[in-house]
């Protein structure tokens, strides 16, 4: 098994999910089941520049997170990764399977393909790769925002 010792987060690469414009921007490790991420997501999306989304599902606390990250990946295979992420954060109370299918329909995606893709082992592996890179980079809570691979923002908490 690959080590989880400290390492800088990987630079932006071809596998990353990118939105926004330009070569400069932020990388956010986020949990699709996390209310704090949902609260910050709109601000991150409105910010000028490039934004990279990396998966950081914390399943113990948000048991639905792995399914939501897989759903985003599956939507991404049909070109709608960020549309799915936006929708999941915008309506956190509706994240069961029928609600995902509603989103798939609304986004005009192929439901059968979505259902197969979100259960694909490669999708699970893809999410895990991001998660593990976050662990190695010292992510200690979500959302964790990096600028040029340097952690620049975490949720403010006293202790």
């Amino acid at each position: 098994m690959q080590t989880l010792t400290s390492a800088p987060i990987p630079p932006v690469g071809p596998e990353d999910h990118l939105c926004g414009e330009g070569e400069e921007g932020l990388i956010v490790y986020a949990d699709l089941g996390c209310p704090h991420c949902a609260a910050e997501w709109g601000k991150l999306r409105e910010r000028p520049g490039r934004l990279v989304f990396r998966h950081f599902p914390v399943a113990s606390t948000h048991p639905r997170s792995p399914a939501l990250h897989a759903a985003a990946e599956a939507a991404g295979r049909q070109g709608c990764f960020f549309e799915m992420v936006d929708s999941l954060y915008a309506d956190r109370g509706r994240v069961d399977d029928p609600h995902l299918w509603e989103r798939v329909e609304r986004l005009g995606l192929d439901l059968r393909r979505f259902e197969a893709d979100r259960r694909d082992e490669e999708v699970e592996a893809r999410v895990k790769r991001d998660f593990r890179s976050g662990i190695r980079g010292g992510v200690a809570g979500t959302p964790a925002v990096f600028d040029a691979c340097t952690l620049v923002a975490v949720r403010e908490r006293e202790f």
Binding site: A7, A59, G137, R157
Partner: protein
Amino acid sequence: MIAVGEQAPDFTLRNQDGEKVSLSDYRGRKVMLVFYPGDFSPVCGDQLSIYQEVKPEIAEKGVELVGVSVDSFFAHKAFREKLGVDTTLLSDFEPKGEVARAYGSYLDAPLGFANRTLVLVDEDGVVAWTYESPNPGEFPGANVIFDALA
């Protein structure tokens, strides 16, 4: 902070189910004591949740995580359920913080709880590695644990 190479002070505390657990129960195994400020605080919740996600990999290294805070064991039980974690949590409740003090982790009044501290105790009950957060608002990412176990 207790020094590497010292014998780890033995203790007996109640776990989340009210059962008595002693450090000496772990003799022959490695244990990572995770001192943290308190149940239900945001950072403590994130810390234990993230550690939970990599617990199998930590176990593969032959190490068991054990959380310690000044909360009652009833609070520990509720906190574990809220977080969905199964890490053993020990109650350093009465005398308050006595174990944290023995390890040099206790933050006196007005805080009155343990700083976020990791103490790796080896198979012989000797302190093998320690980490103390600069302040209770920061916790060592799980990477820090894997660095210690590498």
